[in-house]
Symmetry: C2
Subunit: 317 residues, 2 copies
Amino acid sequence: MLMFETIKEAQRRICSFVHRTPVITSRSFNERVGREVFFKCENLQRAGAFKIRGATNKILALSEDERGRGVVAFSSGNHAQAVALAARDANTRAVIAMPTDAPQTKVIATRGYGAEVRFYDRQRDDRELFARNIAESESLTLVPPYDDYLVMAGQGTCALELLEDVPDLDSIVTPCGGGGLFAGASTAAKAINERIRLFAVEAEGADDTLQSLRRGERVCIPPPATIADGMRNQAPGALTFPVLQRNAEDVLLISDDEIIETMRFILFRMKLVVEPTGATAAAAVLFGKLPGDVRRIGVVLSGGNVDPSALAAIASS
Amino acid sequence: MLMFETIKEAQRRICSFVHRTPVITSRSFNERVGREVFFKCENLQRAGAFKIRGATNKILALSEDERGRGVVAFSSGNHAQAVALAARDANTRAVIAMPTDAPQTKVIATRGYGAEVRFYDRQRDDRELFARNIAESESLTLVPPYDDYLVMAGQGTCALELLEDVPDLDSIVTPCGGGGLFAGASTAAKAINERIRLFAVEAEGADDTLQSLRRGERVCIPPPATIADGMRNQAPGALTFPVLQRNAEDVLLISDDEIIETMRFILFRMKLVVEPTGATAAAAVLFGKLPGDVRRIGVVLSGGNVDPSALAAIASS
């Protein structure tokens, strides 16, 4: 079970390796939604997303022996760069498994942090198995993207910081891919204030968590088509799902168009770059998906890594 | 003369009307320049730029009688929206003089804050005279864009905050258009730490301040061609110039290409939208224009208002 003490321990462990990101308010956003919203800017985090929190916590908690051998991760997204950077900080070897068709910019960025990239075939290989084989044959520790208590605890530190800065929130909204961020953040928040209300956000068509909660068990959906590329997982995690069941008041769904409009609002009114997944929690507030009696809302802007061409398209849309 | 006490008074006066903007660091920026840089994010300020500080200070300092009549300003840029918003906050009428060819988005934004827009002909009219005529005939108070001690004092509050957050800076770098921001910020900084070093930044071709400092008197240059639209003034102010003479160790010049590359770095690595003028101080650091013994640098990102099409062009350049 994910314990509050593990999250507090994570905060002590990682605090000199990650940014304490600012909490930002926007009167124009507040005026538009008629509520008070506090944005936790994980898009301004190192490597551009909250993922560095969990990766750093996991890697710093390794035994000296494990750290001497190194780590492996599979990801074509923010987790790849987070593990690469956290490993470099810890002076540890990192191998990242990426699909052969991963964007060249992400391969370069990951290598730029000193990691070794190994390619798997998206059609032929099971990426998790591919990474586990590397882990086994080279005695590396796998750093899972979400389904690991140390990773979840690391992600949860962003809610600790948010509630230190704004103690009287009545609710927190986070994006929900595999559920690591929500699991960590909700566990931290409930321990601090048991009456706080927690909402997870998924993209339409990527509603594996919502379906799973309704069914009462983990559901695996077909590969989702959404611009929120951090939400393309097909099922919640085995360890994150029970936390979601316990802590999520609701799962809110938003469309690609709502994501894009929210990204534009955040870009031009709030002057922040967020990636599609990173905009989903804000989109849920902007498009009125929350209950009416929620008034002081913490929103996690979870990441800001977006390709130049994609950003140009959104800016001119 | 601009007094430190006037700036401290401004801080007390405006603090509940403006954002205390965050100070952000970027390890990738620091690694690239080999120094420690602290970014004061006035692009995250209300109305998207530091200008709201000076406008608010000026308007809140009006007598009850003056405030009952209203204010007027001339600007096609950030000062227009700042005065409009500050006037709305103070429940005061605002008239903004804009050129007939002002971008429609700026006209709409200014009206959106409740101000009345009056158009002048850029070829035929002197904009300052145009605004002074309105002020006289309608008994309004002119809110100058920079050449006013209350406006300068307001702008200076951003350096007060920066030095509260990071007391041991050895230098501060600010953009320099008319000189209001530099005058306020440098006066505040020198009062707190007389050994702090202050640098103003101008765009190549918009070097009216540098030329004036070399000549020892205010020089008027032809209308500058630069993408830094906040630097298209042709001479430093009568009141700002003596402060520049006293406090500026140097004026650093940067090119449009350097501005664009800096905007891209800030956009994609730091996830912040800055406008061309807002990126100039960071550009001076990124392109090595400062002396080598300057190590802990405060940089003001002065604004973030950029048109969607311009941002799209920069993102895809």
